[in-house]
Symmetry: C2
Subunit: 165 residues, 2 copies
Amino acid sequence: MRSKSFEGMACSIATALEAIGDRWALLLLRDLMLGLRRYDDLKKSTGITNATLTDRLRQLEQSGLIERRPYQSSPERHEYLLTARGRELSLVIQALAQVGDQWRGQSGEPAPLQFVRAGTGRPVRLALVEQDTGEAVPLSELRVQAGPGADDLVRWRLSKLAGRA
Amino acid sequence: MRSKSFEGMACSIATALEAIGDRWALLLLRDLMLGLRRYDDLKKSTGITNATLTDRLRQLEQSGLIERRPYQSSPERHEYLLTARGRELSLVIQALAQVGDQWRGQSGEPAPLQFVRAGTGRPVRLALVEQDTGEAVPLSELRVQAGPGADDLVRWRLSKLAGRA
């Protein structure tokens, strides 16, 4: 199910995907972001089998995205918490939720969750902005170019793009 | 590898993940967004085996994220293009790239790609903003509450969160 074949790819998307694992792992990250912490709660929320749940929690821990902390002894019980690195993935979870909401909306299904700003309760969303000015940029104006870490394969991909522009 | 077990989950993240498939599919979406279109190019770019590549392309087509179009007859050849629905996923791809870049940066690896605005060439990034005003919102101020499509399981998850706040 998990492969190491993304390692060494000069691609930040592959880097992120390698650490995350699979779709079950993303659902676990969603729940941990919502505030669930305990094995039984994560199991109830996702419906994942014990074998898969144990495996994905271990992988997320190995990737440094979550940490396991004892909250009870005899019998020993642990809870799971996002690390700072794991919390950085909230951008990805939020993007998935926003696209999923958009698709559900297109078929008339209402959104299960609303995303708001703490304190004000005003609706928030992810948007593309200019890094320096914060000015909104339509997704259609997004362009890519080689960065300082580009390798031959990255440059080859970009050359295919340039040939068509 | 693929399961239908996310269906019916009142979760927009699960909705999006179900349509996407797996990590290979996300890498294919990345390449299609960059502008690659042909089977051989997608194979070279990702290193996916023929069996997996054929399967993931078929699944992305079935999910309505890509379409297959003939560009040559005798022998017949097809190219693959994102649909409007598929292009909506650029938000997710962009989020993965941004988090991956952040992680690579933390270990001193430079970014393979730079994301800029068409025309101006100014760097862009995804940010959380207030929906109505466009004002920037720190990710730490992101909160969730039940939406109109919340079911019992969604409400239960939120109750776990509320119990701890």
